[in-house]
Symmetry: C2
Subunit: 308 residues, 2 copies
Protein backbone atom coordinates (compact mmCIF):
# COMPACT_ATOMS: atom_id res chain seq x y z
CA UNK A 1 0.00 0.00 0.00
CA UNK A 2 2.10 2.86 -1.36
CA UNK A 3 2.33 6.59 -0.93
CA UNK A 4 2.17 8.42 -4.26
CA UNK A 5 3.33 12.02 -4.75
CA UNK A 6 2.67 13.98 -7.93
CA UNK A 7 3.91 17.53 -8.52
CA UNK A 8 6.74 19.64 -9.84
CA UNK A 9 10.49 19.23 -9.74
CA UNK A 10 12.40 22.45 -10.28
CA UNK A 11 15.68 24.24 -10.20
CA UNK A 12 15.21 27.16 -7.84
CA UNK A 13 17.24 30.34 -7.69
CA UNK A 14 16.48 32.08 -4.44
CA UNK A 15 17.66 35.31 -2.92
CA UNK A 16 17.03 36.24 0.71
CA UNK A 17 18.49 39.00 2.91
CA UNK A 18 20.96 36.37 4.15
CA UNK A 19 22.30 34.67 1.05
CA UNK A 20 21.47 33.47 -2.44
CA UNK A 21 21.58 30.18 -4.30
CA UNK A 22 21.40 29.24 -7.97
CA UNK A 23 19.57 26.29 -9.49
CA UNK A 24 19.13 24.41 -6.25
CA UNK A 25 16.79 21.44 -5.98
CA UNK A 26 13.16 22.55 -5.65
CA UNK A 27 9.59 21.84 -6.69
CA UNK A 28 6.50 20.69 -4.80
CA UNK A 29 6.95 16.95 -5.45
CA UNK A 30 10.56 17.19 -4.30
CA UNK A 31 9.73 18.77 -0.93
CA UNK A 32 6.68 16.55 -0.32
CA UNK A 33 8.59 13.36 -1.12
CA UNK A 34 11.67 14.22 0.91
CA UNK A 35 9.57 15.13 3.97
CA UNK A 36 7.35 12.04 3.66
CA UNK A 37 10.35 9.76 3.24
CA UNK A 38 11.30 10.23 6.90
CA UNK A 39 8.09 8.51 7.94
CA UNK A 40 7.25 6.08 5.22
CA UNK A 41 9.19 4.87 2.22
CA UNK A 42 9.69 4.20 -0.54
CA UNK A 43 7.75 7.27 -1.69
CA UNK A 44 6.47 6.93 -5.26
CA UNK A 45 7.19 10.13 -7.17
CA UNK A 46 5.61 11.17 -10.46
CA UNK A 47 6.93 14.28 -12.19
CA UNK A 48 8.92 15.61 -15.11
CA UNK A 49 12.37 17.14 -15.62
CA UNK A 50 14.57 17.97 -18.59
CA UNK A 51 17.75 16.19 -19.56
CA UNK A 52 19.72 18.92 -17.81
CA UNK A 53 18.43 17.83 -14.40
CA UNK A 54 21.63 17.21 -12.43
CA UNK A 55 22.55 13.61 -11.78
CA UNK A 56 23.35 14.48 -8.16
CA UNK A 57 19.74 15.46 -7.53
CA UNK A 58 18.55 12.14 -8.93
CA UNK A 59 20.97 10.40 -6.61
CA UNK A 60 19.86 12.52 -3.67
CA UNK A 61 16.20 11.58 -4.18
CA UNK A 62 17.05 7.87 -4.61
CA UNK A 63 19.23 7.91 -1.50
CA UNK A 64 16.21 9.27 0.41
CA UNK A 65 14.12 6.25 -0.45
CA UNK A 66 12.18 7.89 -3.27
CA UNK A 67 11.09 5.59 -6.10
CA UNK A 68 11.68 7.41 -9.40
CA UNK A 69 9.98 5.00 -11.80
CA UNK A 70 7.40 7.72 -12.48
CA UNK A 71 9.93 10.47 -13.16
CA UNK A 72 9.86 11.49 -16.83
CA UNK A 73 13.17 12.82 -18.14
CA UNK A 74 12.48 14.67 -21.42
CA UNK A 75 15.47 14.48 -23.71
CA UNK A 76 16.52 17.86 -25.13
CA UNK A 77 14.21 19.79 -22.82
CA UNK A 78 15.24 21.94 -19.90
CA UNK A 79 13.96 21.52 -16.34
CA UNK A 80 11.37 23.90 -14.85
CA UNK A 81 13.17 26.88 -13.33
CA UNK A 82 11.88 29.34 -10.77
CA UNK A 83 13.55 32.44 -9.38
CA UNK A 84 12.36 34.33 -6.31
CA UNK A 85 13.49 36.98 -3.92
CA UNK A 86 12.48 37.33 -0.29
CA UNK A 87 12.61 40.65 1.51
CA UNK A 88 13.58 41.42 5.07
CA UNK A 89 10.02 40.67 6.06
CA UNK A 90 10.04 37.08 4.82
CA UNK A 91 6.28 37.02 4.49
CA UNK A 92 6.66 38.90 1.21
CA UNK A 93 8.29 37.43 -1.84
CA UNK A 94 8.70 38.47 -5.46
CA UNK A 95 8.82 35.95 -8.26
CA UNK A 96 11.72 37.01 -10.48
CA UNK A 97 11.13 34.51 -13.27
CA UNK A 98 9.26 31.31 -14.10
CA UNK A 99 10.48 29.13 -16.96
CA UNK A 100 8.13 26.18 -17.28
CA UNK A 101 10.25 24.32 -19.86
CA UNK A 102 9.61 20.54 -19.62
CA UNK A 103 6.84 21.22 -17.09
CA UNK A 104 4.84 23.13 -19.74
CA UNK A 105 3.51 19.94 -21.34
CA UNK A 106 3.57 17.72 -18.29
CA UNK A 107 1.27 14.77 -18.66
CA UNK A 108 1.40 12.75 -15.45
CA UNK A 109 1.53 9.07 -16.27
CA UNK A 110 1.18 6.83 -13.25
CA UNK A 111 3.21 3.63 -13.61
CA UNK A 112 1.08 0.51 -13.16
CA UNK A 113 2.93 -0.38 -9.97
CA UNK A 114 1.88 2.99 -8.45
CA UNK A 115 -1.79 2.84 -9.50
CA UNK A 116 -2.76 0.77 -6.46
CA UNK A 117 -1.37 3.38 -4.04
CA UNK A 118 -3.85 4.12 -1.28
CA UNK A 119 -2.35 7.42 -0.07
CA UNK A 120 -1.92 10.15 -2.65
CA UNK A 121 -0.53 13.67 -2.35
CA UNK A 122 -1.30 15.99 -5.25
CA UNK A 123 1.18 18.86 -5.22
CA UNK A 124 0.19 22.28 -6.49
CA UNK A 125 -0.24 21.87 -10.27
CA UNK A 126 -3.02 22.51 -12.80
CA UNK A 127 -6.24 21.01 -11.35
CA UNK A 128 -6.89 19.30 -14.72
CA UNK A 129 -3.63 17.38 -14.25
CA UNK A 130 -4.55 16.57 -10.67
CA UNK A 131 -7.83 15.12 -11.95
CA UNK A 132 -5.95 13.17 -14.62
CA UNK A 133 -3.85 11.59 -11.87
CA UNK A 134 -6.93 10.52 -9.90
CA UNK A 135 -8.45 9.04 -13.08
CA UNK A 136 -5.52 6.62 -13.31
CA UNK A 137 -5.73 5.39 -9.72
CA UNK A 138 -7.39 2.28 -8.44
CA UNK A 139 -9.52 3.36 -5.47
CA UNK A 140 -7.21 5.56 -3.36
CA UNK A 141 -8.09 5.75 0.33
CA UNK A 142 -6.76 9.23 1.18
CA UNK A 143 -6.26 11.98 -1.39
CA UNK A 144 -4.43 15.05 -0.07
CA UNK A 145 -4.32 18.07 -2.35
CA UNK A 146 -2.69 21.48 -2.50
CA UNK A 147 -3.54 24.36 -4.83
CA UNK A 148 -2.85 28.09 -5.12
CA UNK A 149 -4.43 31.48 -5.94
CA UNK A 150 -3.46 31.14 -9.62
CA UNK A 151 -5.74 28.10 -10.08
CA UNK A 152 -8.46 29.49 -7.80
CA UNK A 153 -8.66 32.62 -9.91
CA UNK A 154 -8.13 31.11 -13.35
CA UNK A 155 -9.46 27.53 -13.24
CA UNK A 156 -12.13 27.59 -10.59
CA UNK A 157 -14.56 25.20 -12.34
CA UNK A 158 -11.88 22.56 -12.79
CA UNK A 159 -10.72 23.07 -9.24
CA UNK A 160 -14.26 22.58 -7.93
CA UNK A 161 -14.51 19.32 -9.93
CA UNK A 162 -11.26 18.17 -8.36
CA UNK A 163 -12.29 19.11 -4.81
CA UNK A 164 -15.26 16.72 -4.96
CA UNK A 165 -12.72 13.88 -5.20
CA UNK A 166 -10.32 15.10 -2.50
CA UNK A 167 -10.28 14.02 1.17
CA UNK A 168 -7.85 16.58 2.54
CA UNK A 169 -7.29 20.06 1.16
CA UNK A 170 -4.22 21.93 2.38
CA UNK A 171 -4.19 25.63 1.49
CA UNK A 172 -3.18 28.85 3.15
CA UNK A 173 -5.53 31.32 4.80
CA UNK A 174 -5.52 33.87 1.98
CA UNK A 175 -6.34 31.11 -0.53
CA UNK A 176 -9.25 29.99 1.67
CA UNK A 177 -10.61 33.53 1.72
CA UNK A 178 -10.16 33.83 -2.04
CA UNK A 179 -11.86 30.50 -2.72
CA UNK A 180 -14.92 31.38 -0.62
CA UNK A 181 -14.99 35.17 -0.68
CA UNK A 182 -15.43 34.99 3.08
CA UNK A 183 -13.05 36.83 5.43
CA UNK A 184 -13.91 34.79 8.54
CA UNK A 185 -11.72 31.68 8.41
CA UNK A 186 -14.10 29.54 10.47
CA UNK A 187 -16.97 30.29 8.11
CA UNK A 188 -14.67 29.88 5.10
CA UNK A 189 -13.58 26.46 6.34
CA UNK A 190 -17.19 25.32 6.63
CA UNK A 191 -17.88 26.47 3.07
CA UNK A 192 -14.80 24.72 1.70
CA UNK A 193 -15.68 21.43 3.36
CA UNK A 194 -19.05 21.57 1.62
CA UNK A 195 -17.14 21.55 -1.70
CA UNK A 196 -15.82 18.05 -1.08
CA UNK A 197 -12.86 17.72 1.29
CA UNK A 198 -13.91 16.17 4.62
CA UNK A 199 -10.73 17.53 6.11
CA UNK A 200 -9.30 21.00 5.64
CA UNK A 201 -5.96 22.29 6.77
CA UNK A 202 -5.31 26.02 6.71
CA UNK A 203 -1.67 27.06 6.74
CA UNK A 204 -1.09 30.48 8.31
CA UNK A 205 2.71 30.85 7.99
CA UNK A 206 4.15 32.40 11.14
CA UNK A 207 0.77 31.88 12.85
CA UNK A 208 0.74 28.10 12.49
CA UNK A 209 -1.94 25.88 10.99
CA UNK A 210 -5.53 24.86 11.66
CA UNK A 211 -7.21 21.50 11.15
CA UNK A 212 -10.95 21.20 10.51
CA UNK A 213 -12.46 17.72 10.61
CA UNK A 214 -15.90 16.49 11.74
CA UNK A 215 -16.69 18.72 14.71
CA UNK A 216 -13.05 19.09 15.61
CA UNK A 217 -11.08 22.28 15.20
CA UNK A 218 -7.40 22.06 16.07
CA UNK A 219 -5.01 24.98 16.15
CA UNK A 220 -1.29 24.28 15.86
CA UNK A 221 1.32 26.95 16.52
CA UNK A 222 4.25 27.73 14.27
CA UNK A 223 7.68 26.87 15.58
CA UNK A 224 9.22 30.11 16.89
CA UNK A 225 12.25 30.73 14.71
CA UNK A 226 14.41 33.82 15.03
CA UNK A 227 15.96 33.28 11.65
CA UNK A 228 14.19 31.87 8.65
CA UNK A 229 16.77 31.31 5.96
CA UNK A 230 14.52 30.30 3.11
CA UNK A 231 10.74 29.88 3.31
CA UNK A 232 10.61 28.13 -0.09
CA UNK A 233 8.97 24.73 0.12
CA UNK A 234 7.66 25.08 3.68
CA UNK A 235 4.07 24.39 2.66
CA UNK A 236 4.99 21.36 0.56
CA UNK A 237 7.19 20.06 3.35
CA UNK A 238 4.26 20.41 5.74
CA UNK A 239 2.11 18.34 3.39
CA UNK A 240 4.85 15.71 3.07
CA UNK A 241 5.30 15.32 6.82
CA UNK A 242 1.54 15.24 7.28
CA UNK A 243 0.80 12.49 4.75
CA UNK A 244 4.00 10.59 5.51
CA UNK A 245 3.04 10.29 9.17
CA UNK A 246 -0.53 9.26 8.30
CA UNK A 247 0.74 6.69 5.81
CA UNK A 248 3.05 5.25 8.46
CA UNK A 249 0.39 5.03 11.17
CA UNK A 250 -2.67 4.23 8.98
CA UNK A 251 -4.83 5.91 11.62
CA UNK A 252 -7.27 8.57 10.43
CA UNK A 253 -8.78 9.42 13.83
CA UNK A 254 -8.93 13.08 14.78
CA UNK A 255 -6.33 12.54 17.54
CA UNK A 256 -3.93 11.13 14.98
CA UNK A 257 -4.72 13.84 12.44
CA UNK A 258 -3.71 16.38 15.10
CA UNK A 259 -0.38 14.60 15.48
CA UNK A 260 0.03 14.57 11.70
CA UNK A 261 -0.43 18.36 11.65
CA UNK A 262 2.29 18.69 14.30
CA UNK A 263 4.63 16.39 12.36
CA UNK A 264 3.94 18.44 9.24
CA UNK A 265 4.69 21.63 11.17
CA UNK A 266 7.86 20.07 12.57
CA UNK A 267 9.13 19.15 9.12
CA UNK A 268 8.29 22.64 7.79
CA UNK A 269 10.19 24.23 10.66
CA UNK A 270 13.31 22.28 9.71
CA UNK A 271 12.85 23.13 6.03
CA UNK A 272 13.06 26.90 6.47
CA UNK A 273 16.20 26.74 8.61
CA UNK A 274 18.36 26.09 5.56
CA UNK A 275 18.34 26.89 1.86
CA UNK A 276 16.51 24.68 -0.62
CA UNK A 277 16.10 21.05 0.49
CA UNK A 278 19.32 21.06 2.54
CA UNK A 279 17.60 20.58 5.91
CA UNK A 280 15.59 17.64 4.56
CA UNK A 281 18.59 15.74 3.26
CA UNK A 282 20.02 14.39 6.48
CA UNK A 283 17.47 14.69 9.25
CA UNK A 284 17.11 11.95 11.80
CA UNK A 285 13.94 10.51 13.24
CA UNK A 286 15.27 11.41 16.69
CA UNK A 287 15.51 15.09 15.73
CA UNK A 288 11.96 15.01 14.40
CA UNK A 289 10.67 13.50 17.64
CA UNK A 290 12.53 16.15 19.63
CA UNK A 291 10.92 18.91 17.62
CA UNK A 292 7.50 17.29 18.05
CA UNK A 293 8.08 17.46 21.81
CA UNK A 294 9.05 21.13 21.53
CA UNK A 295 5.71 21.78 19.84
CA UNK A 296 4.05 20.11 22.81
CA UNK A 297 5.79 22.47 25.23
CA UNK A 298 4.87 25.37 23.02
CA UNK A 299 1.14 24.78 22.97
CA UNK A 300 -0.03 22.41 25.68
CA UNK A 301 -1.19 23.55 29.12
CA UNK A 302 -3.05 22.00 31.99
CA UNK A 303 -6.08 23.09 33.90
CA UNK A 304 -5.97 23.89 37.57
CA UNK A 305 -9.38 23.55 39.13
CA UNK A 306 -9.94 26.58 41.30
CA UNK A 307 -13.01 27.39 43.27
CA UNK A 308 -14.85 30.66 43.16
Amino acid sequence: MGLLVVGSLALDSVETPFDKINEALGGSATYISLAASYFSGPVELVGVVGSDFPREYIDLLRRNNIDLEGLQIIEGEKTFRWGGKYHYDLNVRDTLFTELNAFQNFNPIIPERFQKSKFVCLGNIDPLLQIRVLDQLNDPQLVVCDTMNYWIEGMKDDLLKLLRRVNVLIINDSEARLLTNEPNLIKASRLIRKLGPEILILKKGEHGAMLFMDDTIFSAPAYPLETIFDPTGAGDTFAGGFIGYLHKTRDLSSDNLKRAVIYGSSMASFCVEQFSTKALEDLSYLKIQDRFREFKNLSNFDQLEIDK
Copy 2:
Protein backbone atom coordinates in the same frame (compact mmCIF):
# COMPACT_ATOMS: atom_id res chain seq x y z
CA MET B 1 -3.59 42.73 48.70
CA GLY B 2 -5.65 44.47 46.05
CA LEU B 3 -5.88 44.52 42.28
CA LEU B 4 -5.70 48.06 40.91
CA VAL B 5 -6.84 49.02 37.41
CA VAL B 6 -6.15 52.43 35.88
CA GLY B 7 -7.37 53.48 32.44
CA SER B 8 -10.17 55.08 30.51
CA LEU B 9 -13.93 54.97 30.89
CA ALA B 10 -15.81 55.94 27.77
CA LEU B 11 -19.10 56.11 25.96
CA ASP B 12 -18.62 54.15 22.74
CA SER B 13 -20.64 54.42 19.57
CA VAL B 14 -19.89 51.43 17.43
CA GLU B 15 -21.08 50.35 14.02
CA THR B 16 -20.48 46.86 12.63
CA PRO B 17 -21.92 45.06 9.61
CA PHE B 18 -24.42 43.50 12.04
CA ASP B 19 -25.75 46.37 14.12
CA LYS B 20 -24.91 49.66 15.76
CA ILE B 21 -25.01 51.08 19.27
CA ASN B 22 -24.80 54.59 20.67
CA GLU B 23 -22.98 55.69 23.81
CA ALA B 24 -22.56 52.24 25.26
CA LEU B 25 -20.24 51.57 28.17
CA GLY B 26 -16.61 51.36 27.05
CA GLY B 27 -13.03 52.27 27.91
CA SER B 28 -9.95 50.23 28.81
CA ALA B 29 -10.43 50.39 32.59
CA THR B 30 -14.04 49.29 32.18
CA TYR B 31 -13.23 46.17 30.19
CA ILE B 32 -10.20 45.26 32.31
CA SER B 33 -12.13 45.63 35.59
CA LEU B 34 -15.20 43.76 34.45
CA ALA B 35 -13.13 40.83 33.16
CA ALA B 36 -10.92 40.71 36.27
CA SER B 37 -13.92 40.86 38.58
CA TYR B 38 -14.91 37.29 37.63
CA PHE B 39 -11.71 36.03 39.21
CA SER B 40 -10.86 38.40 41.99
CA GLY B 41 -12.75 41.25 43.57
CA PRO B 42 -13.26 43.88 44.58
CA VAL B 43 -11.31 45.39 41.70
CA GLU B 44 -9.99 48.88 42.51
CA LEU B 45 -10.69 51.19 39.58
CA VAL B 46 -9.08 54.59 38.99
CA GLY B 47 -10.37 56.73 36.12
CA VAL B 48 -12.33 59.80 35.17
CA VAL B 49 -15.78 60.53 33.71
CA GLY B 50 -17.94 63.60 33.27
CA SER B 51 -21.11 64.36 35.16
CA ASP B 52 -23.10 63.01 32.19
CA PHE B 53 -21.83 59.47 32.84
CA PRO B 54 -25.05 57.44 33.19
CA ARG B 55 -25.98 56.35 36.68
CA GLU B 56 -26.83 52.88 35.35
CA TYR B 57 -23.20 52.34 34.30
CA ILE B 58 -22.00 53.29 37.78
CA ASP B 59 -24.48 50.79 39.19
CA LEU B 60 -23.37 48.14 36.71
CA LEU B 61 -19.72 48.50 37.71
CA ARG B 62 -20.56 48.46 41.45
CA ARG B 63 -22.78 45.40 40.99
CA ASN B 64 -19.78 43.65 39.40
CA ASN B 65 -17.69 44.08 42.53
CA ILE B 66 -15.72 47.08 41.27
CA ASP B 67 -14.62 49.57 43.92
CA LEU B 68 -15.17 53.09 42.54
CA GLU B 69 -13.46 55.13 45.27
CA GLY B 70 -10.86 56.15 42.65
CA LEU B 71 -13.38 57.20 40.01
CA GLN B 72 -13.28 60.97 39.49
CA ILE B 73 -16.58 62.48 38.31
CA ILE B 74 -15.85 65.95 36.92
CA GLU B 75 -18.82 68.23 37.41
CA GLY B 76 -19.84 70.10 34.25
CA GLU B 77 -17.55 68.05 32.02
CA LYS B 78 -18.58 65.43 29.51
CA THR B 79 -17.35 61.83 29.45
CA PHE B 80 -14.75 60.64 26.93
CA ARG B 81 -16.55 59.55 23.76
CA TRP B 82 -15.29 57.33 20.97
CA GLY B 83 -16.94 56.35 17.73
CA GLY B 84 -15.76 53.55 15.46
CA LYS B 85 -16.89 51.53 12.52
CA TYR B 86 -15.90 47.95 11.70
CA HIS B 87 -16.03 46.62 8.19
CA TYR B 88 -17.02 43.20 6.94
CA ASP B 89 -13.46 42.08 7.57
CA LEU B 90 -13.49 42.84 11.30
CA ASN B 91 -9.72 43.15 11.40
CA VAL B 92 -10.09 46.63 9.96
CA ARG B 93 -11.71 49.50 11.82
CA ASP B 94 -12.10 53.22 11.25
CA THR B 95 -12.20 55.67 14.12
CA LEU B 96 -15.09 58.02 13.35
CA PHE B 97 -14.49 60.46 16.20
CA THR B 98 -12.62 60.86 19.48
CA GLU B 99 -13.83 63.42 22.02
CA LEU B 100 -11.48 63.33 24.99
CA ASN B 101 -13.61 65.66 27.18
CA ALA B 102 -12.99 64.92 30.87
CA PHE B 103 -10.23 62.49 29.89
CA GLN B 104 -8.20 65.34 28.35
CA ASN B 105 -6.86 66.50 31.72
CA PHE B 106 -6.97 63.18 33.52
CA ASN B 107 -4.67 63.15 36.52
CA PRO B 108 -4.83 59.72 38.08
CA ILE B 109 -4.97 60.05 41.86
CA ILE B 110 -4.65 56.76 43.68
CA PRO B 111 -6.70 56.71 46.90
CA GLU B 112 -4.58 55.85 49.93
CA ARG B 113 -6.46 52.59 50.38
CA PHE B 114 -5.40 51.49 46.86
CA GLN B 115 -1.74 52.48 47.15
CA LYS B 116 -0.79 49.19 48.80
CA SER B 117 -2.18 47.16 45.90
CA LYS B 118 0.27 44.49 44.80
CA PHE B 119 -1.22 43.74 41.37
CA VAL B 120 -1.62 46.66 38.99
CA CYS B 121 -3.00 46.83 35.46
CA LEU B 122 -2.18 50.01 33.55
CA GLY B 123 -4.65 50.36 30.69
CA ASN B 124 -3.63 52.07 27.48
CA ILE B 125 -3.19 55.76 28.39
CA ASP B 126 -0.37 58.33 28.08
CA PRO B 127 2.83 56.69 29.40
CA LEU B 128 3.48 59.79 31.54
CA LEU B 129 0.23 59.10 33.37
CA GLN B 130 1.10 55.43 33.70
CA ILE B 131 4.39 56.50 35.33
CA ARG B 132 2.51 58.89 37.60
CA VAL B 133 0.39 55.96 38.80
CA LEU B 134 3.44 53.86 39.62
CA ASP B 135 4.98 56.80 41.51
CA GLN B 136 2.04 56.74 43.92
CA LEU B 137 2.22 53.03 44.67
CA ASN B 138 3.87 51.32 47.58
CA ASP B 139 5.97 48.50 46.13
CA PRO B 140 3.66 46.72 43.68
CA GLN B 141 4.52 43.07 42.99
CA LEU B 142 3.20 42.70 39.43
CA VAL B 143 2.73 45.61 37.03
CA VAL B 144 0.90 44.72 33.82
CA CYS B 145 0.83 47.38 31.13
CA ASP B 146 -0.79 47.99 27.77
CA THR B 147 0.09 50.68 25.22
CA MET B 148 -0.57 51.46 21.55
CA ASN B 149 1.02 52.71 18.32
CA TYR B 150 0.06 56.33 19.13
CA TRP B 151 2.36 56.37 22.21
CA ILE B 152 5.07 54.27 20.55
CA GLU B 153 5.29 56.77 17.71
CA GLY B 154 4.77 59.99 19.67
CA MET B 155 6.08 59.42 23.20
CA LYS B 156 8.74 56.76 22.81
CA ASP B 157 11.16 58.16 25.41
CA ASP B 158 8.48 58.28 28.09
CA LEU B 159 7.29 54.84 27.11
CA LEU B 160 10.82 53.45 27.44
CA LYS B 161 11.07 54.99 30.93
CA LEU B 162 7.81 53.31 31.84
CA LEU B 163 8.82 49.92 30.46
CA ARG B 164 11.77 49.72 32.86
CA ARG B 165 9.23 49.59 35.69
CA VAL B 166 6.82 47.10 34.13
CA ASN B 167 6.74 43.32 34.70
CA VAL B 168 4.30 42.31 31.97
CA LEU B 169 3.78 44.16 28.71
CA ILE B 170 0.70 43.21 26.67
CA ILE B 171 0.70 44.58 23.13
CA ASN B 172 -0.30 43.36 19.70
CA ASP B 173 2.05 42.04 17.04
CA SER B 174 2.07 45.17 14.90
CA GLU B 175 2.89 47.29 17.97
CA ALA B 176 5.78 44.95 18.79
CA ARG B 177 7.16 45.35 15.28
CA LEU B 178 6.73 49.12 15.48
CA LEU B 179 8.43 49.35 18.88
CA THR B 180 11.48 47.36 17.74
CA ASN B 181 11.55 47.93 13.99
CA GLU B 182 11.98 44.15 13.69
CA PRO B 183 9.59 42.09 11.54
CA ASN B 184 10.43 38.73 13.16
CA LEU B 185 8.21 38.45 16.25
CA ILE B 186 10.58 36.13 18.12
CA LYS B 187 13.47 38.56 17.69
CA ALA B 188 11.19 41.50 18.48
CA SER B 189 10.06 39.83 21.70
CA ARG B 190 13.66 39.36 22.81
CA LEU B 191 14.40 43.04 22.14
CA ILE B 192 11.30 44.18 24.05
CA ARG B 193 12.15 42.09 27.10
CA LYS B 194 15.54 43.82 27.21
CA LEU B 195 13.67 47.11 27.65
CA GLY B 196 12.32 46.03 31.03
CA PRO B 197 9.33 43.68 31.03
CA GLU B 198 10.36 40.16 32.13
CA ILE B 199 7.17 38.89 30.59
CA LEU B 200 5.77 39.81 27.20
CA ILE B 201 2.42 38.89 25.76
CA LEU B 202 1.79 39.44 22.06
CA LYS B 203 -1.84 39.57 21.01
CA LYS B 204 -2.42 38.46 17.43
CA GLY B 205 -6.20 38.87 17.07
CA GLU B 206 -7.66 35.96 15.11
CA HIS B 207 -4.29 34.17 15.43
CA GLY B 208 -4.29 34.03 19.22
CA ALA B 209 -1.60 35.21 21.62
CA MET B 210 1.98 34.38 22.57
CA LEU B 211 3.64 34.43 25.97
CA PHE B 212 7.38 35.00 26.36
CA MET B 213 8.88 34.44 29.82
CA ASP B 214 12.30 33.14 30.90
CA ASP B 215 13.09 30.47 28.30
CA THR B 216 9.44 29.66 27.81
CA ILE B 217 7.49 30.50 24.69
CA PHE B 218 3.80 29.62 24.77
CA SER B 219 1.44 29.94 21.85
CA ALA B 220 -2.30 30.17 22.57
CA PRO B 221 -4.89 29.88 19.81
CA ALA B 222 -7.80 32.23 19.32
CA TYR B 223 -11.24 30.83 19.99
CA PRO B 224 -12.76 29.96 16.60
CA LEU B 225 -15.78 32.24 16.26
CA GLU B 226 -17.93 32.32 13.16
CA THR B 227 -19.48 35.62 14.13
CA ILE B 228 -17.69 38.39 15.93
CA PHE B 229 -20.26 41.00 16.83
CA ASP B 230 -18.00 43.71 18.21
CA PRO B 231 -14.22 43.43 18.61
CA THR B 232 -14.07 46.56 20.79
CA GLY B 233 -12.45 45.90 24.16
CA ALA B 234 -11.16 42.41 23.35
CA GLY B 235 -7.56 43.31 24.18
CA ASP B 236 -8.49 44.99 27.45
CA THR B 237 -10.73 42.07 28.37
CA PHE B 238 -7.80 39.74 27.70
CA ALA B 239 -5.64 41.77 30.09
CA GLY B 240 -8.39 41.76 32.72
CA GLY B 241 -8.88 38.01 32.61
CA PHE B 242 -5.11 37.50 32.65
CA ILE B 243 -4.36 39.65 35.71
CA GLY B 244 -7.58 38.67 37.48
CA TYR B 245 -6.65 35.00 37.31
CA LEU B 246 -3.08 35.69 38.46
CA HIS B 247 -4.35 37.83 41.33
CA LYS B 248 -6.68 35.04 42.40
CA THR B 249 -4.03 32.31 42.28
CA ARG B 250 -0.96 34.35 43.35
CA ASP B 251 1.19 31.95 41.35
CA LEU B 252 3.64 33.46 38.87
CA SER B 253 5.13 30.18 37.60
CA SER B 254 5.30 29.73 33.85
CA ASP B 255 2.69 26.93 34.00
CA ASN B 256 0.28 29.30 35.72
CA LEU B 257 1.10 32.16 33.38
CA LYS B 258 0.09 29.88 30.51
CA ARG B 259 -3.25 29.28 32.21
CA ALA B 260 -3.63 33.03 32.73
CA VAL B 261 -3.16 33.56 29.00
CA ILE B 262 -5.89 31.01 28.30
CA TYR B 263 -8.24 32.64 30.83
CA GLY B 264 -7.51 36.00 29.20
CA SER B 265 -8.25 34.50 25.79
CA SER B 266 -11.44 32.93 27.13
CA MET B 267 -12.70 36.25 28.49
CA ALA B 268 -11.83 38.02 25.21
CA SER B 269 -13.74 35.39 23.24
CA PHE B 270 -16.86 36.10 25.29
CA CYS B 271 -16.38 39.86 24.94
CA VAL B 272 -16.57 39.91 21.14
CA GLU B 273 -19.72 37.79 21.00
CA GLN B 274 -21.87 40.74 22.04
CA PHE B 275 -21.81 44.51 21.73
CA SER B 276 -20.00 46.68 24.25
CA THR B 277 -19.60 45.10 27.70
CA LYS B 278 -22.83 43.08 27.42
CA ALA B 279 -21.14 39.67 27.47
CA LEU B 280 -19.13 40.61 30.57
CA GLU B 281 -22.12 41.67 32.61
CA ASP B 282 -23.59 38.32 33.51
CA LEU B 283 -21.07 35.60 32.86
CA SER B 284 -20.73 32.69 35.26
CA TYR B 285 -17.58 31.07 36.50
CA LEU B 286 -18.92 27.78 35.14
CA LYS B 287 -19.13 29.21 31.62
CA ILE B 288 -15.58 30.50 31.90
CA GLN B 289 -14.31 27.08 32.98
CA ASP B 290 -16.17 25.46 30.07
CA ARG B 291 -14.53 27.80 27.61
CA PHE B 292 -11.13 27.14 29.18
CA ARG B 293 -11.73 23.43 28.51
CA GLU B 294 -12.68 24.20 24.91
CA PHE B 295 -9.33 25.94 24.50
CA LYS B 296 -7.69 22.77 25.77
CA ASN B 297 -9.44 20.68 23.11
CA LEU B 298 -8.49 23.24 20.53
CA SER B 299 -4.74 23.20 21.13
CA ASN B 300 -3.62 20.18 23.13
CA PHE B 301 -2.47 16.92 21.56
CA ASP B 302 -0.62 13.88 22.73
CA GLN B 303 2.41 12.11 21.42
CA LEU B 304 2.29 8.58 20.13
CA GLU B 305 5.69 6.97 20.31
CA ILE B 306 6.26 5.20 17.04
CA ASP B 307 9.32 3.33 15.98
CA LYS B 308 11.18 3.87 12.77
